[in-house]
Symmetry: C2
Subunit: 517 residues, 2 copies
């Protein structure tokens, strides 16, 4: 068996059955081996950032890594921004990156680059495999490393001769240790803090954003009056249908300072301490009030959910029934009239299908959607965990591959959509159930806010032009058709609702360009 | 003056007057300062790979660096592949990358990444500027570093607070030393080799691919019977109208071995020793025959052209008049009938405008175009210097910004086009004179060849699917219209010639989808 086949079979043996690929010459043996290993589903991307973002979406939904297949240093480079996002989302993800043959690297041929260095900037684990006998074992190690806990990026660099040499061996999956528990003494200590004097806050994130974590956190909050907050951009957030709504840590530091005002303790469960996303002149980077003690109950590598449940039990907090949740019952009415960010949000809230996956890269245009969907059916919400725009369409693609039968709603700002627009072709090719709504304001609207916040004086033509996407206007209907995705334009709330309804009732992808009036 | 303005004014003072920008929050002060420094032309890109590739195209044409403006580590990551290409092309290029404020970095907010490490993988020079007083001087140093010689990537990392703090100082341009000359003794030594026994080869590249270098090299070859070759993917190659044609080093090692067979010496002038682009089982990585001595006359950091002229003089080689060049006189006839790679090449050869810039990312489909254009009017040819596809459309964009009044012909393979397709929007926005011809074979055709060359056995459905771009077919006419570029489809040689003629006679960009029949 050659190295490529041993690599593929070892990945499959370790539970990795999906590959998001943009291969080149050095990965051709891997591609050829796909025919001999049908258990691996390989999904072609036209650009590496689509592949890495899709692997992020897949890993978020399944909790298991997909693998990417990337071509040398430049290919990994093209995938780097979405690997950054995956790293921040703590997504398990395995990169397989082809390299020049071991004996070829000394010649520094044109595509040679600092592949190891590029991988190092984003990988928690990385290895290069110079011997074919090791490639199966290295693949199994990569999968184990990616699973953490918490999930992380593992990058396996495979020279071309290792893929074509004979002598590959399939490796068994690595044993996984159970998720480490938080020590009972720490749970007791935290319970004592929350029972004691002074207002406390509880910030949840990561695995605590699922149903069990949310319910346990809500019990803690209800029993003690603790202020419940969650991270700003959760990787996967279970929402709707009786789940408690949780206030998000504000994006801007000074608003977060208001959220935290008066707290004497802040308990973290699966979340990091709040921090302003960016710095601004004369505004705080660290919004935690002076004198507020930050206590970590459970880091993301521990059993965060069990810790929250143990904390609730230690506090004697009663179970919470659906009707006691703060979630609003029911959906909003179907909107009509002008298409605005608000009526768009009502249309989404009115129609969101049961079990949907919402991928949110709507930036400024989507701020009302959480409010209109909280009372609707159960769904999962995937946010821009690492802040690097261009993840929405790829994450939606990977989530749809991971969850056949569920509708993915990709809420996408027009500026952000253009970073990885090639995702649409993969959605068409694979017939994925993704509804993309591109929210058109013809600008980098967030930067218009940011320009003022960094203290830039009244802007003239040159600066404004750098934030303007209207000259020429992008026509997403044509772009989508060019990539094989059926598309249409909505210029009223009624049209948007009609088009959403149509897409939700049909198989396969669709794109709706929502032009605000 | 704040740091952003000092930075901008220092770049302008050092001769950098074009910025290819994809900014974010940390670059907003730079954007605001554009209004106060009108000497800097800022060109917006929708994706960072467009910005870096455009800076490569600009630098190749002008010999001076453009600056990019990129957002943090992920933004630089998105630009990495085309920076790799620019590094291989030895293009002078300055990256300005915004970073979090100096005091904010310790909080590891979501967009924090290993920016320094990412920059390190591709930059010959890099610096981070923590004090506003230094930012002007650092900008001047960055420009000087980028100019080499040879040209290289210089990356200046500027924290946000440095851009908004007052106290910036405009720096004067750094003095440049004259281009170092090759020692006369080395020229004499080389002349003696070429006069002596044994067949010799001369491989030229880099600056030797301009008119003076080509003529000097041709004199050397004509006077001594030396076999004249050039690098496979020159950054800028002057061609047409009486310039000597030069045989390119073959892409595949075994073909290069045939080119070099029987040579006892190989002299390098601005080029590196030949090497196979990739390794393949049982094929040579190093095509230089055993016993063939490789002698470097002039590395890319020296005055390569002067060295070649000195060598020609030392050999007493007579000047070469136009008619003695090997270039074919005249253009081919206008083709008719089926559209094939060959008739496409004839149409281009028939119509290529005087002074055109040809950006070649045509991969397998464009192999005949060099032959049909060699006898036509003078033009410059920009090749895929680093081998990372996705550079063609951005390089064409930057070349057009650099050379107003000249027509840029961007020959682009369909697979490669999709990596940085966002370039089209910038071409439309800036009204650039770029004619893009997308060559549609609906596959990664090069990889079909490579699959066989790496020894992969007969391929089945899984492997074939990874090289197939036809399901669904990409419609570049719609994609281009969606980004504001007029576009049309050619399905015969006649239609292609008509559309080329039309585009060459009009201002602004156009895209032609050439579908081979």
């Amino acid at each position: 068996m050659n190295g490529a086949e041993a690599l593929l079979r070892s990945l499959v043996a370790s539970g990795v059955t999906t590959c998001f690929a943009n291969p080149g010459t050095s990965e051709m043996q891997f591609v050829a081996a796909l025919d001999r290993v049908p258990e691996m589903r390989s999904v072609l991307a036209l650009f590496e950032g689509v592949a890495t973002g899709a692997a992020d979406g897949y890993g978020r939904i399944t909790g298991r890594p997909a693998t990417t297949l990337l071509h040398l240093g430049p290919g990994l480079g093209n995938g780097l921004a979405n690997l950054h996002n995956a790293r921040r989302a703590r997504t398990p993800l395995v990169n397989v990156v082809g390299d020049h043959a071991t004996y070829h690297q000394r010649f520094d041929s044109p595509l040679q680059s600092d592949l190891w260095g590029i991988a190092h900037t984003v990988s928690a684990w990385q290895r290069s495999t110079p011997r074919v006998e090791d490639v199966g074992a290295d693949a199994a190690d990569a999968v184990a490393a990616s699973l953490g806990p918490p999930g992380r990026i593992a990058t396996l660099i495979v020279p071309a001769d290792v893929t074509w040499n004979e002598g590959g061996e399939v490796a068994a999956p690595r044993q996984r240790a159970p998720l480490p528990l938080v020590p009972p003494t720490l749970v007791e200590h935290t319970a004592a803090l929350l029972r004691g004097r002074g207002a406390a806050g509880l910030v949840i994130g990561g695995p605590a954003m699922g149903e069990r974590g949310l319910l346990a956190a809500a019990r803690v909050a209800a029993a003690t009056g603790t202020k419940l907050l969650c991270e700003t951009f959760p990787a996967v957030h279970a929402r709707g249908a009786g789940l408690p709504e949780v206030e998000k840590i504000a994006y801007y530091g000074e608003m977060c300072t208001l959220q935290l005002a008066g707290l004497s303790h802040l308990v973290l469960a699966g979340a990091r301490a709040p921090v302003s996303f960016f710095a601004y002149p004369d505004k705080p980077s660290d919004p935690v009030p002076p004198g507020c003690a930050v206590v970590e109950l459970a880091g993301a590598g521990l059993d965060v959910v069990a810790a929250l449940e143990a904390l609730a039990d230690a506090l004697g907090a009663p179970a919470i029934a659906g009707r006691r949740h703060r979630g609003r019952a029911g959906r909003p009415e179907r909107p009509s009239g002008r298409l605005t960010p608000e009526s768009m949000a009502l249309a989404v809230g009115h129609l969101l299908p049961e079990g949907a996956i919402v991928v949110d890269e709507s930036i400024t245009s989507g701020l009302s959607v959480p409010g209109t969907t909280a009372g609707g059916p159960r769904h999962e919400w995937l946010a821009l965990a690492g802040g690097s725009i261009g993840q929405g369409l790829p994450v939606a693609t990977g989530a749809a591959v991971a969850a056949p039968g569920r509708r993915v709603l990709s809420l996408e700002a027009d500026g952000s959509a253009m970073y990885t627009i090639q995702s649409l072709w993969t959605q068409a090719r694979e017939g994925l159930d993704v509804t993309t709504v591109v929210l058109v304001n013809r600008s980098y609207a967030i930067l218009q806010l940011e320009l003022a916040r960094v203290g830039a004086s009244g802007t003239g033509e040159g600066a404004s032009a750098m934030l303007d996407l209207g000259h020429p206007p992008l026509d997403f209907v044509e772009i989508a058709r060019g990539m094989g995705v059926p598309s249409d334009r909505a210029t009223s709330a009624d049209e948007l609702a009609d088009l959403l309804e149509k897409s939700f009732s049909e198989d396969g992808p669709a794109l709706i360009e929502a032009v605000f009036g």
